[in-house]
């Protein structure tokens, strides 16, 4: 009796220790970024776990000088937001067709669309770079948005197809029997039911587009058009040789914290989406 009780107790302690280890592993580097951002620039190389003196100097430095960080944030919002919106508009209709309609080669087509998400981004780059140079798209938003669609679409179509499949088909048919056209049935019945799935897909697409680096780095050479991830990696220090880590960590916190808040608030949905799609 007592033996088994001690055993359950050690097991419980072990599982708590395991949980703590996992949480520590995941959070420690992020904690270090946050703490480094709050150090005074002169304490930058101090390795104490809590800053000697907290300061916001790094955060004010981010928005000062020639970093152009405010503009970069705006660019990121425009690029990621438009990519998400377009992906949803195009993706919802395609996913609806794949989940609901009957036609030949449906699975082959779904497989093909999913397969395109495995395509290496670098293979897009040279041809599109030349094409966009010819039509004068370099340093424009569309030069970043259009290639991103190629990666956002396949995964969101896959997710949305999975979500649409779970919806009760009968409701839509009932509406059609009651005199709705297929289009009306879609708008009035399917869209509201599908809203949670669409929302989840939107979050995942937005995060992926917000994190994009290679395309944004290559399609833009003007500072005014850089997205936040590119801009931060190009921050220059006062001397020009030192990497201004304090400022970069502060900027990193600024671009990451909104995402983390979203992730925490919509945890359940995001996990459902990730596990449904196996999205990177």
């Amino acid at each position: 009796m007592t033996a088994s009780r001690t055993r359950t107790r050690t097991r419980r302690i072990l599982s708590y220790a395991g949980i703590a280890a996992v949480a520590l592993y995941c959070l420690a580097p992020f904690y270090w970024m946050t703490v480094s951002a709050f150090r005074r620039p002169q304490d930058q190389f101090d390795n104490s776990i809590v800053p000697v003196r907290w300061s916001l100097e790094n955060f004010t430095a981010v928005f000062q000088g020639d970093n152009g960080f405010g503009r970069a944030l705006l660019n990121s919002v425009v690029v990621a937001g438009t990519t998400t919106a377009l992906t949803l508009i195009i993706g919802v209709s395609t996913a609806y067709a794949l989940a609901r309609l009957r036609f030949r080669f449906k699975n082959a087509l779904l497989g093909l669309i999913v397969a395109t998400s495995m395509f290496p981004g670098i293979s897009q780059l040279v041809p599109l770079l030349k094409l966009f140079t010819d039509i004068g798209w370099i340093n424009t938003y569309q030069a970043m948005i259009v290639p991103s669609l190629g990666f956002a679409l396949p995964l969101s179509i896959w997710l949305l197809t999975a979500f649409f499949r779970q919806l009760p088909f009968e409701l839509e048919q009932a509406a059609m029997v009651d005199g709705c056209t297929r289009g009306q049935a879609f708008r009035k019945i399917i869209v509201p039911l599908a809203a949670p799935g669409v929302f989840t897909t939107a979050i995942l697409t937005f995060i992926a587009a917000w994190n994009e680096f290679l395309i944004a780095l290559s399609m833009v050479n003007e500072k005014d058009m850089q997205t936040a991830t590119v801009a931060i990696s190009k921050f220059t220090g006062v001397s020009g040789f030192d990497q201004p880590f304090g400022t970069q960590m502060a900027a990193g916190v600024i671009v990451t914290v909104p995402l983390i808040v979203v992730v925490l608030v919509f945890q359940r949905r995001i996990v459902a989406g990730l596990t449904a799609g196996g999205v990177k």
Binding site: S15, G18, I19, A23, Y25, C26, L27, P29, F30, M33, N47, S93, T94, Y96, L98, L101, R102, F103, K106, N107, L109, L110, V114, F119, P120, G121, I122, S123, Q124, L125, V126, L129, K130, L131, V146, L149, G150, L153, R165, W210, N211, T229, I232, S233, F245, Q248, M249, G252, V255, T256, I260, V263, L264, Q267, V271, L274, T275, G278, V279, K280
Partner: protein
């Protein structure tokens, strides 16, 4: 414009006709198949158009590009020619055996090395995390939230973060009480990339495996325990086979993602560094130096390499990314057959 409208009207009429004929019976499916096909084509065309433009076109144009070279060269009669000229497979032969061969094989080796080490490590760590989380009853939500943090941080930013940690007088060296120049060159640089990559992605594998674990019914484990299987035996012969499908898809995605790695080593160590240069980085470096032909050749080689690995993985291990869709079709077919049989009877 008018012809298009006319065509649309004709299509509507065609679609409406058979529907009208079987209206009173109201049997579902079957009759409006043509209308469905037409609607499907309409709904699918934007996606196919976009994918053709941003994926299909680059594959073909990139291959064509890889057959050309830019800059000065000599033609057959010894004249200097400028501009783009057709060089056949020269870019490829150069990659495999010419001057840049050393750089190519280095990048190829790095890509392969990173792929296998990180995927194996993050699978082992991820499965371990999943088992821990599955065990714990309380605090699971907290851990799940913290697991999403590395995933949500943009890769370029996490590259910077790890560069900061791996500074000569940074946190890693302070923790280890060592003076390792992580970001300079050689094995420390490789190791730094692997550590950063595994940190970012193993929680993700853990999350997917956890989802797989939660779908296993409890009594399967109970039965195994009653039959006298040890914990290790239960893991190997009950848990692992049951989470295998979820795990395989996760590993496939990770595999293809590391093969095209760019952001992390580029920000953490820098481009054009032998120790961490991957195929994507070398292709990007060529393109940014306007050597489009050889950049396209590198990209095409990478594309073929990724396709090959994906094919082998799916063939050998049977990861099925559209398994659910296929199941559904099978089910529908079976139902149809059953219905037909019922009608005949």
């Amino acid at each position: 414009m008018t012809t298009q409208d006319e065509r649309a009207a004709a299509a509507n009429a065609a679609a409406a006709a058979p529907r009208g004929r079987r209206a009173p019976g109201g049997g579902k499916g079957g009759g409006d198949a043509r209308g469905q096909r037409r609607l499907a084509a309409l709904l699918l065309s934007p996606t196919l158009l976009v994918l053709a433009l941003v994926i299909g076109y680059p594959v073909l144009a990139g291959f064509r590009e890889s057959l050309y070279a830019r800059g000065e060269g000599l033609d057959e009669s010894g004249f200097v020619v400028e501009g783009t000229r057709f060089v056949g497979f020269d870019n490829y032969t150069a990659i495999f055996s010419g001057d840049p061969a050393g750089a190519f094989w280095n990048a190829f080796g790095n890509t392969t090395f990173f792929t296998f080490t990180t995927v194996i490590l993050e699978t082992v760590i991820g499965v371990g995390m999943a088992l821990i989380m599955h065990r714990a009853f309380r605090g699971r939500a907290l851990v799940r939230a913290s697991i999403l943090v590395p995933w949500a941080i943009p890769t370029a930013i996490s590259g910077l973060l790890w560069r900061w940690i791996f500074q000569a007088d940074g946190a890693a060296n302070a923790l280890l009480r060592q003076q390792i120049l992580w970001t300079a060159d050689g094995w420390p640089a490789k190791l730094a990339v692997i550590i950063a990559e595994v940190w970012k992605t193993s929680p993700f594998i853990g999350l997917l495996v956890l989802a797989g674990l939660q779908m296993i019914p409890r009594d399967v484990h109970e039965a195994a325990r009653v039959d006298g299987a040890s914990a290790v035996q239960r893991f190997w012969s009950v848990t692992l086979p049951l989470v295998k499908p979820a795990l395989l898809v996760a590993v496939l995605f990770r595999l293809l993602d590391v093969l095209r790695m760019f952001d992390l080593p580029a920000v953490l160590i820098g481009v054009n560094q032998d120790s961490v240069e991957t195929l994507t980085m070398i292709a990007w470096f060529e393109a940014s130096n306007l050597r489009y032909g050889s950049a396209a050749a590198y990209a095409t080689v990478l594309f073929v390499y990724i396709a090959l690995i994906a094919y082998l993985f799916v063939k050998l291990l049977g990861a099925d990314i559209i398994g659910e869709a296929r199941e559904e079709t099978k089910r529908a077919k079976r139902q149809k057959a059953r219905r037909r049989k019922a009608v005949q009877a």
